[in-house]
């Protein structure tokens, strides 16, 4: 009787310690989560935005580099989801994607901060350029630098395309695999409106689910 009492006490004491440890750890995790990296978001978005020559798609590899590879904020798969969302909604892809990444890292505050930081560099640069844009447009040195950068932009995007292709082909879905060249042809050769292409692809996917459900029942 005495012995079991003692062992019970030990067990409950042990439980208490474990619970305490869990609580402390939970609190620590909470603190860690609460300490949102706002400053980092501001810096990284200013930086990325200042270097996105050549269109919004260049932001995707940049965000991959800093958010996925360096800081492990989220998985590459998630980045591709975000890119798809940013692309499918109106507005500049670069700004939308920055806001989404900011939201994923630090909630609404993160989204607002990222969005504002992403817009500031073009705002300042355009402000300076618009003051004397005639001289800027005809400047040979700037033109040469930008001509070189076009090659870099193209390489960045092709690199991204290869990774995205691998990711989608991995799912082994005939419909999705056919959709890639389909959307390309519709946009590049036929010049169909981007919104129409996206809506059509959505409908195709919904149709596929309906068809599969009907087959089952």
């Amino acid at each position: 009787m005495n012995e079991s009492n003692a062992s019970n006490e030990i067990v409950s004491f042990y439980r208490l310690i474990v619970q305490l440890y869990n609580d402390i750890q939970k609190g620590w995790m909470y603190l860690k989560q609460e300490k949102k990296p706002y400053l980092w978001l501001i810096g990284i978005n200013l930086f990325i935005s200042a270097f996105t020559f050549g269109g919004g798609y260049v932001v995707v590899p940049m965000i991959r580099r800093y958010f996925v590879t360096q800081r492990n904020c989220f998985a590459e798969e998630e980045l591709i989801n975000m890119a798809a969302v940013a692309q499918s909604t109106p507005g500049a892809i670069a700004v939308n994607l920055s806001a989404l990444a900011g939201f994923r890292v630090a909630g609404i505050g993160g989204a607002v901060i990222s969005c504002v930081s992403a817009v500031i560099p073009p705002l300042i640069i355009l402000g300076i350029v618009s003051a004397f844009y005639g001289a800027f447009v005809s400047n040979a040195v700037i033109a040469a630098i930008l001509k070189g950068m076009q090659a870099g932009v193209a390489a960045l995007i092709v690199d991204l395309i290869i990774d995205m292709c691998q990711m989608i082909l991995k799912e082994r879905s005939l419909l999705l695999s056919a959709m890639i060249p389909g959307a390309f042809l519709a946009s590049f050769v036929m010049g169909i409106n981007v919104a129409l292409i996206l809506i059509f692809c959505c409908l195709l996917c919904i149709g596929k689910v309906l068809l599969a459900k009907r087959k089952k029942s």
Partner: protein, 184 residues
Amino acid sequence: MNVILVLFFTFLKIGLFSIGGGYAIIPLIQEQVVEKTGWISEKVFTDIITISQMTPGPLAVNTSTFVGLQIAGVAGAIAATLGCVLCGVLLSLMLYRFFQRHQKSIYVFEVLGGLKAASLGLIISAAVTILMLALWGIGTPTFDTMPDWFIATMFALSLLALRKWKVNPIIIMIGTGLLGFFIY
């Protein structure tokens, strides 16, 4: 104040209807700021496109900043840019939240998959345009003239560096810019 409000709402409209981004939205912006309101001339608009290609940042944001500055100074620029960005960001956040909440739904899963595949197709389309522009200096495919071999080599080297050694994209941008400066 009135002008600033008009700027804000005009660019709100541009932002709301510019799906896909990039060069697809040029006609839309043109219709609003050149033809309808007469804020800037055709020539200035063409210049803005050129400047946009030269400077970082999305075309719509650049145009809104430029037009806003010309019409109503710094306040105009901020109002126009805000209007331009607002709808897109809000809608993307909402759509993203929606997808996150209904992750388990088979419809959401399939639609997101479809959007990913379609986006990829569109990105390829943009990439081909950029490559054409870099190699031949024009946006439409013609194969009569030889491509620019310096650019082609630089493109191949950059791609190799990215694939093989995972070089930082910023270094690629600076490197290709410097090479362009020395070659041309």
